[in-house]
Symmetry: C2
Subunit: 238 residues, 2 copies
Protein backbone atom coordinates (compact mmCIF):
# COMPACT_ATOMS: atom_id res chain seq x y z
CA UNK A 1 0.00 0.00 0.00
CA UNK A 2 2.37 2.70 -1.23
CA UNK A 3 1.47 6.29 -0.57
CA UNK A 4 2.60 9.48 -2.15
CA UNK A 5 1.71 11.45 -5.20
CA UNK A 6 2.26 10.12 -8.66
CA UNK A 7 2.46 13.44 -10.42
CA UNK A 8 2.65 17.07 -9.42
CA UNK A 9 1.77 20.01 -11.61
CA UNK A 10 2.04 23.75 -10.99
CA UNK A 11 -0.36 26.44 -12.17
CA UNK A 12 -3.24 24.14 -12.91
CA UNK A 13 -6.01 26.67 -12.47
CA UNK A 14 -6.01 27.98 -15.99
CA UNK A 15 -7.13 24.77 -17.58
CA UNK A 16 -9.29 23.57 -14.71
CA UNK A 17 -12.36 21.59 -15.70
CA UNK A 18 -14.37 22.35 -12.63
CA UNK A 19 -13.46 25.92 -11.84
CA UNK A 20 -17.02 27.12 -12.01
CA UNK A 21 -18.56 24.48 -9.79
CA UNK A 22 -15.85 24.46 -7.11
CA UNK A 23 -15.19 27.16 -4.52
CA UNK A 24 -12.78 28.82 -6.92
CA UNK A 25 -15.77 29.78 -9.06
CA UNK A 26 -16.16 32.82 -6.85
CA UNK A 27 -12.92 34.36 -8.07
CA UNK A 28 -12.18 37.15 -10.52
CA UNK A 29 -9.23 36.69 -12.91
CA UNK A 30 -6.76 38.65 -10.76
CA UNK A 31 -7.80 36.68 -7.73
CA UNK A 32 -7.51 33.44 -9.60
CA UNK A 33 -3.88 34.37 -10.25
CA UNK A 34 -3.27 34.52 -6.54
CA UNK A 35 -4.91 31.19 -6.03
CA UNK A 36 -3.07 29.66 -8.93
CA UNK A 37 0.22 30.79 -7.44
CA UNK A 38 -0.29 28.68 -4.36
CA UNK A 39 -1.89 25.58 -5.80
CA UNK A 40 -0.38 22.27 -6.82
CA UNK A 41 -2.28 19.64 -8.74
CA UNK A 42 -1.48 16.13 -7.54
CA UNK A 43 -2.47 12.71 -8.75
CA UNK A 44 -3.00 9.74 -6.49
CA UNK A 45 -3.37 6.11 -7.51
CA UNK A 46 -6.07 3.83 -6.09
CA UNK A 47 -5.64 3.11 -2.37
CA UNK A 48 -3.03 5.82 -1.93
CA UNK A 49 -3.40 8.02 1.12
CA UNK A 50 -3.87 11.76 0.76
CA UNK A 51 -3.50 12.39 4.48
CA UNK A 52 -4.02 10.58 7.77
CA UNK A 53 -6.31 11.37 10.67
CA UNK A 54 -4.19 13.24 13.18
CA UNK A 55 -1.74 14.65 10.65
CA UNK A 56 -1.18 18.39 11.01
CA UNK A 57 -3.75 20.04 8.79
CA UNK A 58 -1.29 21.80 6.57
CA UNK A 59 -3.26 21.84 3.33
CA UNK A 60 -6.69 22.21 1.86
CA UNK A 61 -7.78 20.32 -1.22
CA UNK A 62 -10.21 20.36 -4.05
CA UNK A 63 -10.97 17.08 -5.75
CA UNK A 64 -10.88 17.57 -9.51
CA UNK A 65 -11.35 13.99 -10.61
CA UNK A 66 -11.89 10.53 -9.17
CA UNK A 67 -13.35 9.35 -5.89
CA UNK A 68 -11.94 9.93 -2.41
CA UNK A 69 -13.03 8.27 0.83
CA UNK A 70 -12.84 9.87 4.26
CA UNK A 71 -12.66 7.58 7.25
CA UNK A 72 -12.18 7.39 10.98
CA UNK A 73 -10.88 4.44 12.97
CA UNK A 74 -11.73 3.09 16.40
CA UNK A 75 -8.77 1.90 18.48
CA UNK A 76 -9.57 -1.76 17.70
CA UNK A 77 -9.60 -1.15 13.97
CA UNK A 78 -13.30 -0.78 13.26
CA UNK A 79 -13.64 1.75 10.49
CA UNK A 80 -16.32 4.27 9.68
CA UNK A 81 -16.29 6.01 6.33
CA UNK A 82 -17.69 9.48 6.90
CA UNK A 83 -18.00 10.43 3.27
CA UNK A 84 -17.07 9.95 -0.35
CA UNK A 85 -15.85 12.90 -2.37
CA UNK A 86 -16.10 13.39 -6.09
CA UNK A 87 -14.98 15.91 -8.65
CA UNK A 88 -15.64 19.43 -7.41
CA UNK A 89 -15.78 18.56 -3.73
CA UNK A 90 -13.80 20.52 -1.18
CA UNK A 91 -11.64 18.75 1.36
CA UNK A 92 -10.06 19.87 4.58
CA UNK A 93 -12.66 22.30 5.77
CA UNK A 94 -11.75 22.40 9.43
CA UNK A 95 -10.55 25.16 11.63
CA UNK A 96 -8.46 22.80 13.61
CA UNK A 97 -4.85 21.91 13.83
CA UNK A 98 -5.02 18.33 12.66
CA UNK A 99 -7.21 16.37 10.29
CA UNK A 100 -10.14 14.63 11.95
CA UNK A 101 -10.21 11.82 9.40
CA UNK A 102 -8.07 9.99 6.90
CA UNK A 103 -8.47 10.74 3.18
CA UNK A 104 -7.64 8.03 0.66
CA UNK A 105 -8.04 7.67 -3.06
CA UNK A 106 -10.63 5.08 -4.10
CA UNK A 107 -9.94 5.43 -7.81
CA UNK A 108 -7.19 7.32 -9.51
CA UNK A 109 -7.67 10.83 -8.16
CA UNK A 110 -6.54 14.34 -8.98
CA UNK A 111 -6.65 17.03 -6.32
CA UNK A 112 -5.68 20.69 -6.15
CA UNK A 113 -3.73 21.34 -2.98
CA UNK A 114 -3.50 24.70 -1.21
CA UNK A 115 -1.24 25.50 1.74
CA UNK A 116 -3.60 26.29 4.59
CA UNK A 117 -1.86 29.44 5.80
CA UNK A 118 -1.70 31.04 2.38
CA UNK A 119 -5.28 30.08 1.65
CA UNK A 120 -6.26 31.60 4.96
CA UNK A 121 -4.55 34.82 3.98
CA UNK A 122 -6.42 34.86 0.69
CA UNK A 123 -9.62 34.41 2.65
CA UNK A 124 -8.91 37.58 4.59
CA UNK A 125 -8.96 39.57 1.36
CA UNK A 126 -11.83 37.79 -0.33
CA UNK A 127 -15.04 37.76 1.67
CA UNK A 128 -16.67 36.30 -1.43
CA UNK A 129 -14.57 33.19 -1.08
CA UNK A 130 -15.25 32.93 2.61
CA UNK A 131 -18.96 33.20 1.95
CA UNK A 132 -18.68 30.38 -0.52
CA UNK A 133 -16.81 28.27 1.99
CA UNK A 134 -19.54 28.83 4.53
CA UNK A 135 -21.97 27.57 1.93
CA UNK A 136 -19.86 24.47 1.42
CA UNK A 137 -19.71 23.85 5.15
CA UNK A 138 -23.44 24.30 5.41
CA UNK A 139 -24.07 21.75 2.67
CA UNK A 140 -21.72 19.27 4.23
CA UNK A 141 -23.51 19.70 7.51
CA UNK A 142 -26.85 18.93 5.91
CA UNK A 143 -25.35 15.87 4.22
CA UNK A 144 -23.86 14.70 7.49
CA UNK A 145 -27.24 14.98 9.17
CA UNK A 146 -28.84 12.91 6.45
CA UNK A 147 -26.18 10.30 7.04
CA UNK A 148 -26.86 10.42 10.77
CA UNK A 149 -30.52 9.72 10.06
CA UNK A 150 -29.54 6.86 7.79
CA UNK A 151 -27.16 5.28 10.29
CA UNK A 152 -29.39 5.74 13.29
CA UNK A 153 -32.77 4.77 11.97
CA UNK A 154 -32.76 3.00 8.62
CA UNK A 155 -32.81 -0.73 7.86
CA UNK A 156 -30.17 -2.41 5.72
CA UNK A 157 -32.38 -2.24 2.64
CA UNK A 158 -33.21 1.40 3.22
CA UNK A 159 -29.55 2.18 3.75
CA UNK A 160 -28.52 0.59 0.49
CA UNK A 161 -31.34 2.27 -1.41
CA UNK A 162 -30.40 5.66 0.03
CA UNK A 163 -26.76 5.07 -0.77
CA UNK A 164 -27.50 4.21 -4.37
CA UNK A 165 -29.67 7.26 -4.80
CA UNK A 166 -27.04 9.58 -3.40
CA UNK A 167 -24.45 7.97 -5.65
CA UNK A 168 -26.73 8.47 -8.62
CA UNK A 169 -27.07 12.11 -7.70
CA UNK A 170 -23.49 12.88 -6.77
CA UNK A 171 -21.33 10.33 -8.50
CA UNK A 172 -20.07 12.08 -11.59
CA UNK A 173 -19.49 8.82 -13.41
CA UNK A 174 -19.38 9.49 -17.10
CA UNK A 175 -22.08 6.87 -17.67
CA UNK A 176 -24.33 8.64 -15.22
CA UNK A 177 -27.05 8.87 -17.83
CA UNK A 178 -29.76 6.28 -18.19
CA UNK A 179 -30.06 5.10 -14.63
CA UNK A 180 -26.66 3.40 -14.78
CA UNK A 181 -24.73 4.15 -11.61
CA UNK A 182 -20.98 3.88 -11.39
CA UNK A 183 -19.95 2.29 -8.09
CA UNK A 184 -16.20 2.82 -7.78
CA UNK A 185 -15.85 1.67 -4.17
CA UNK A 186 -15.80 -1.91 -2.85
CA UNK A 187 -18.62 -3.59 -0.93
CA UNK A 188 -16.41 -3.26 2.10
CA UNK A 189 -16.17 0.51 1.67
CA UNK A 190 -19.91 0.74 1.20
CA UNK A 191 -20.46 -1.34 4.33
CA UNK A 192 -18.18 0.89 6.38
CA UNK A 193 -20.04 3.91 5.05
CA UNK A 194 -23.58 2.82 5.82
CA UNK A 195 -22.88 0.90 9.00
CA UNK A 196 -23.23 -2.70 7.80
CA UNK A 197 -20.97 -5.63 6.94
CA UNK A 198 -19.73 -6.58 3.50
CA UNK A 199 -21.95 -9.63 3.51
CA UNK A 200 -25.10 -7.72 4.34
CA UNK A 201 -24.37 -5.15 1.64
CA UNK A 202 -23.83 -7.90 -0.90
CA UNK A 203 -26.96 -9.77 0.13
CA UNK A 204 -29.01 -6.58 -0.02
CA UNK A 205 -27.78 -5.79 -3.51
CA UNK A 206 -28.69 -9.30 -4.58
CA UNK A 207 -32.11 -9.06 -2.99
CA UNK A 208 -32.85 -5.70 -4.63
CA UNK A 209 -31.84 -7.22 -7.95
CA UNK A 210 -34.09 -10.22 -7.30
CA UNK A 211 -36.98 -7.87 -6.67
CA UNK A 212 -36.39 -6.12 -9.97
CA UNK A 213 -35.49 -2.81 -8.41
CA UNK A 214 -31.96 -2.80 -9.80
CA UNK A 215 -29.73 -4.78 -12.15
CA UNK A 216 -26.13 -5.67 -11.44
CA UNK A 217 -24.35 -5.94 -14.78
CA UNK A 218 -21.05 -5.91 -12.90
CA UNK A 219 -20.31 -5.42 -9.21
CA UNK A 220 -19.19 -1.87 -10.02
CA UNK A 221 -22.30 -0.94 -11.94
CA UNK A 222 -25.86 -0.65 -10.79
CA UNK A 223 -28.66 -0.12 -13.26
CA UNK A 224 -31.73 1.39 -11.69
CA UNK A 225 -34.78 -0.42 -13.01
CA UNK A 226 -37.48 0.89 -10.73
CA UNK A 227 -36.39 4.27 -9.44
CA UNK A 228 -39.85 4.79 -7.98
CA UNK A 229 -39.46 1.87 -5.59
CA UNK A 230 -35.85 2.73 -4.89
CA UNK A 231 -36.79 6.24 -3.83
CA UNK A 232 -39.60 4.92 -1.70
CA UNK A 233 -37.24 2.50 0.03
CA UNK A 234 -34.80 5.31 0.72
CA UNK A 235 -37.60 6.90 2.70
CA UNK A 236 -36.57 10.50 2.54
CA UNK A 237 -34.69 12.23 -0.22
CA UNK A 238 -31.27 10.93 0.91
Amino acid sequence: MATGPLVERRNPCYDCDIRDTAVCGALKPAELDRLNAMVTAIDFGPEETIFYEGDPASHLYNVTSGCVRLSKLLPDGRRQITGFLFSGDFLGLAYIESYAFTAEAVTRVTVCRFPRDRFQALLDDLPELERRLLGVASNELATAQDQILLLGRKSAKEKVASFLLSLARRGHGRRGGGGLIDVPMTRHDIADYIGLTTETVSRTFTKLAGEGVIDLPTPQQVAVRDSETLAELAGDLG
Copy 2:
Protein backbone atom coordinates in the same frame (compact mmCIF):
# COMPACT_ATOMS: atom_id res chain seq x y z
CA MET B 1 -48.21 20.12 23.08
CA ALA B 2 -48.67 23.86 22.83
CA THR B 3 -46.12 25.80 20.89
CA GLY B 4 -45.20 29.44 20.92
CA PRO B 5 -42.99 31.63 22.98
CA LEU B 6 -43.72 32.32 26.60
CA VAL B 7 -41.91 35.63 26.80
CA GLU B 8 -40.30 38.02 24.40
CA ARG B 9 -37.75 40.63 25.25
CA ARG B 10 -36.10 43.32 23.12
CA ASN B 11 -32.53 44.54 23.37
CA PRO B 12 -31.24 41.60 25.33
CA CYS B 13 -27.63 41.84 24.24
CA TYR B 14 -26.47 44.26 26.90
CA ASP B 15 -27.02 41.92 29.79
CA CYS B 16 -26.21 38.72 27.95
CA ASP B 17 -24.54 36.03 30.03
CA ILE B 18 -22.83 34.29 27.22
CA ARG B 19 -21.81 37.10 24.90
CA ASP B 20 -18.17 36.19 25.00
CA THR B 21 -18.54 32.51 24.27
CA ALA B 22 -21.13 32.81 21.52
CA VAL B 23 -20.61 34.11 18.01
CA CYS B 24 -21.47 37.60 19.19
CA GLY B 25 -18.20 37.60 21.10
CA ALA B 26 -16.52 38.77 17.90
CA LEU B 27 -18.28 42.11 17.98
CA LYS B 28 -17.13 45.58 18.96
CA PRO B 29 -19.54 47.77 20.95
CA ALA B 30 -20.86 49.67 17.91
CA GLU B 31 -21.40 46.41 16.08
CA LEU B 32 -23.13 44.92 19.06
CA ASP B 33 -25.59 47.78 18.83
CA ARG B 34 -26.49 46.71 15.33
CA LEU B 35 -26.95 43.14 16.44
CA ASN B 36 -28.94 44.17 19.46
CA ALA B 37 -31.29 46.13 17.24
CA MET B 38 -32.35 43.02 15.40
CA VAL B 39 -32.45 40.46 18.17
CA THR B 40 -35.35 39.21 20.25
CA ALA B 41 -34.89 37.04 23.30
CA ILE B 42 -37.54 34.35 23.55
CA ASP B 43 -38.36 31.77 26.19
CA PHE B 44 -39.78 28.37 25.41
CA GLY B 45 -41.23 25.89 27.84
CA PRO B 46 -40.33 22.18 27.83
CA GLU B 47 -41.54 20.36 24.72
CA GLU B 48 -42.36 23.56 22.88
CA THR B 49 -41.28 23.77 19.27
CA ILE B 50 -38.87 26.45 18.12
CA PHE B 51 -39.30 25.59 14.44
CA TYR B 52 -40.22 22.62 12.28
CA GLU B 53 -38.24 20.83 9.63
CA GLY B 54 -39.33 22.30 6.33
CA ASP B 55 -40.35 25.68 7.73
CA PRO B 56 -38.91 28.61 5.80
CA ALA B 57 -35.59 29.38 7.46
CA SER B 58 -36.47 32.92 8.44
CA HIS B 59 -34.39 33.23 11.59
CA LEU B 60 -31.13 32.29 13.20
CA TYR B 61 -30.83 31.57 16.90
CA ASN B 62 -28.41 31.49 19.74
CA VAL B 63 -29.28 29.33 22.71
CA THR B 64 -28.64 31.28 25.88
CA SER B 65 -29.99 28.82 28.42
CA GLY B 66 -31.53 25.37 28.59
CA CYS B 67 -31.33 22.38 26.28
CA VAL B 68 -32.65 22.12 22.72
CA ARG B 69 -33.00 18.99 20.61
CA LEU B 70 -32.73 18.87 16.84
CA SER B 71 -34.47 16.04 15.04
CA LYS B 72 -35.43 14.62 11.69
CA LEU B 73 -38.33 12.31 10.92
CA LEU B 74 -38.75 9.46 8.49
CA PRO B 75 -42.13 9.28 6.73
CA ASP B 76 -43.30 6.46 9.01
CA GLY B 77 -42.48 8.42 12.14
CA ARG B 78 -39.11 7.03 13.09
CA ARG B 79 -37.13 9.86 14.60
CA GLN B 80 -33.45 10.65 14.64
CA ILE B 81 -32.14 13.34 16.94
CA THR B 82 -29.20 14.95 15.18
CA GLY B 83 -27.98 16.96 18.13
CA PHE B 84 -28.58 18.58 21.48
CA LEU B 85 -27.80 22.25 21.95
CA PHE B 86 -26.87 24.03 25.16
CA SER B 87 -26.18 27.53 26.30
CA GLY B 88 -23.92 29.32 23.83
CA ASP B 89 -24.72 27.08 20.86
CA PHE B 90 -25.67 28.54 17.53
CA LEU B 91 -28.72 27.31 15.68
CA GLY B 92 -29.86 27.67 12.11
CA LEU B 93 -26.56 27.61 10.35
CA ALA B 94 -27.73 26.67 6.89
CA TYR B 95 -27.52 28.43 3.61
CA ILE B 96 -30.80 26.99 2.55
CA GLU B 97 -34.33 28.15 2.28
CA SER B 98 -35.90 25.86 4.81
CA TYR B 99 -34.79 24.21 8.03
CA ALA B 100 -33.45 20.70 7.60
CA PHE B 101 -34.57 19.63 11.07
CA THR B 102 -37.02 20.39 13.81
CA ALA B 103 -35.84 22.27 16.91
CA GLU B 104 -37.64 21.72 20.21
CA ALA B 105 -37.04 22.77 23.77
CA VAL B 106 -36.10 19.91 26.09
CA THR B 107 -36.03 22.04 29.21
CA ARG B 108 -37.13 25.60 29.64
CA VAL B 109 -35.06 27.41 27.04
CA THR B 110 -34.06 30.95 26.20
CA VAL B 111 -32.89 31.82 22.72
CA CYS B 112 -31.82 34.98 20.95
CA ARG B 113 -33.50 35.20 17.59
CA PHE B 114 -32.15 37.10 14.57
CA PRO B 115 -33.96 37.67 11.29
CA ARG B 116 -31.93 35.85 8.68
CA ASP B 117 -31.87 38.60 6.09
CA ARG B 118 -30.74 41.27 8.50
CA PHE B 119 -28.14 38.97 10.01
CA GLN B 120 -26.92 38.23 6.51
CA ALA B 121 -26.55 41.94 5.86
CA LEU B 122 -24.54 42.31 9.06
CA LEU B 123 -22.34 39.49 7.86
CA ASP B 124 -21.51 41.43 4.71
CA ASP B 125 -20.02 44.20 6.83
CA LEU B 126 -18.33 42.05 9.44
CA PRO B 127 -15.90 39.51 8.06
CA GLU B 128 -14.91 38.84 11.64
CA LEU B 129 -18.37 37.48 12.35
CA GLU B 130 -18.38 35.43 9.20
CA ARG B 131 -15.06 33.94 10.14
CA ARG B 132 -16.45 33.00 13.48
CA LEU B 133 -19.45 31.39 11.86
CA LEU B 134 -17.17 29.33 9.67
CA GLY B 135 -15.47 28.16 12.83
CA VAL B 136 -18.81 27.17 14.30
CA ALA B 137 -19.72 25.26 11.15
CA SER B 138 -16.39 23.53 11.20
CA ASN B 139 -16.85 22.41 14.79
CA GLU B 140 -20.34 21.17 14.09
CA LEU B 141 -19.01 19.21 11.17
CA ALA B 142 -16.41 17.52 13.35
CA THR B 143 -19.07 16.72 15.94
CA ALA B 144 -21.34 15.30 13.26
CA GLN B 145 -18.55 13.04 12.06
CA ASP B 146 -17.97 11.77 15.56
CA GLN B 147 -21.66 10.98 15.77
CA ILE B 148 -21.49 9.17 12.43
CA LEU B 149 -18.70 7.01 13.82
CA LEU B 150 -20.75 6.33 16.92
CA LEU B 151 -23.88 5.41 15.01
CA GLY B 152 -22.15 3.33 12.39
CA ARG B 153 -19.67 1.35 14.41
CA LYS B 154 -20.20 1.42 18.16
CA SER B 155 -22.04 -1.06 20.38
CA ALA B 156 -24.88 -0.01 22.68
CA LYS B 157 -22.54 0.17 25.65
CA GLU B 158 -19.99 2.22 23.75
CA LYS B 159 -22.70 4.51 22.50
CA VAL B 160 -24.00 5.22 25.98
CA ALA B 161 -20.51 5.75 27.34
CA SER B 162 -19.68 8.17 24.54
CA PHE B 163 -22.94 9.99 25.06
CA LEU B 164 -22.33 10.43 28.76
CA LEU B 165 -18.83 11.72 28.16
CA SER B 166 -20.01 14.26 25.63
CA LEU B 167 -22.74 15.38 28.01
CA ALA B 168 -20.19 15.75 30.76
CA ARG B 169 -18.10 17.90 28.47
CA ARG B 170 -20.84 19.98 26.88
CA GLY B 171 -23.76 19.97 29.26
CA HIS B 172 -23.51 23.21 31.16
CA GLY B 173 -25.46 21.81 34.10
CA ARG B 174 -24.72 23.92 37.14
CA ARG B 175 -23.77 20.79 39.07
CA GLY B 176 -21.31 19.85 36.36
CA GLY B 177 -18.55 19.66 38.95
CA GLY B 178 -17.61 16.45 40.68
CA GLY B 179 -18.43 13.92 38.01
CA LEU B 180 -22.14 14.53 38.42
CA ILE B 181 -23.76 14.81 35.00
CA ASP B 182 -27.07 16.52 34.46
CA VAL B 183 -29.21 14.54 31.97
CA PRO B 184 -32.11 16.78 31.02
CA MET B 185 -33.48 14.63 28.18
CA THR B 186 -35.56 11.45 28.44
CA ARG B 187 -34.32 7.94 27.73
CA HIS B 188 -36.40 8.09 24.60
CA ASP B 189 -34.55 11.21 23.42
CA ILE B 190 -31.23 9.59 24.20
CA ALA B 191 -32.26 6.49 22.29
CA ASP B 192 -33.25 8.50 19.24
CA TYR B 193 -29.94 10.32 19.44
CA ILE B 194 -27.61 7.32 19.62
CA GLY B 195 -29.63 4.96 17.44
CA LEU B 196 -31.08 2.60 20.04
CA THR B 197 -34.43 1.96 21.72
CA THR B 198 -35.54 3.33 25.07
CA GLU B 199 -35.30 -0.12 26.59
CA THR B 200 -31.75 -0.71 25.43
CA VAL B 201 -30.65 2.67 26.75
CA SER B 202 -32.25 1.93 30.10
CA ARG B 203 -30.74 -1.53 30.30
CA THR B 204 -27.32 -0.19 29.40
CA PHE B 205 -27.49 2.48 32.10
CA THR B 206 -28.47 -0.19 34.61
CA LYS B 207 -25.66 -2.45 33.49
CA LEU B 208 -23.06 0.32 33.71
CA ALA B 209 -24.30 1.08 37.22
CA GLY B 210 -24.09 -2.62 38.11
CA GLU B 211 -20.48 -2.65 36.94
CA GLY B 212 -19.66 0.31 39.15
CA VAL B 213 -18.83 2.62 36.26
CA ILE B 214 -21.61 5.06 37.10
CA ASP B 215 -24.24 5.73 39.74
CA LEU B 216 -27.83 6.68 39.02
CA PRO B 217 -29.07 8.80 41.93
CA THR B 218 -32.06 9.79 39.78
CA PRO B 219 -32.84 9.06 36.13
CA GLN B 220 -31.80 12.64 35.33
CA GLN B 221 -28.46 12.46 37.07
CA VAL B 222 -25.47 10.31 36.36
CA ALA B 223 -22.53 10.22 38.71
CA VAL B 224 -19.35 9.07 37.05
CA ARG B 225 -17.60 6.64 39.36
CA ASP B 226 -14.92 5.27 37.09
CA SER B 227 -14.20 7.83 34.41
CA GLU B 228 -11.21 5.80 33.30
CA THR B 229 -13.37 2.87 32.28
CA LEU B 230 -16.05 5.12 30.88
CA ALA B 231 -13.54 6.81 28.58
CA GLU B 232 -12.14 3.45 27.55
CA LEU B 233 -15.61 2.21 26.67
CA ALA B 234 -16.26 5.29 24.60
CA GLY B 235 -13.31 4.18 22.50
CA ASP B 236 -12.26 7.48 21.07
CA LEU B 237 -12.62 10.90 22.62
CA GLY B 238 -16.29 11.24 21.63
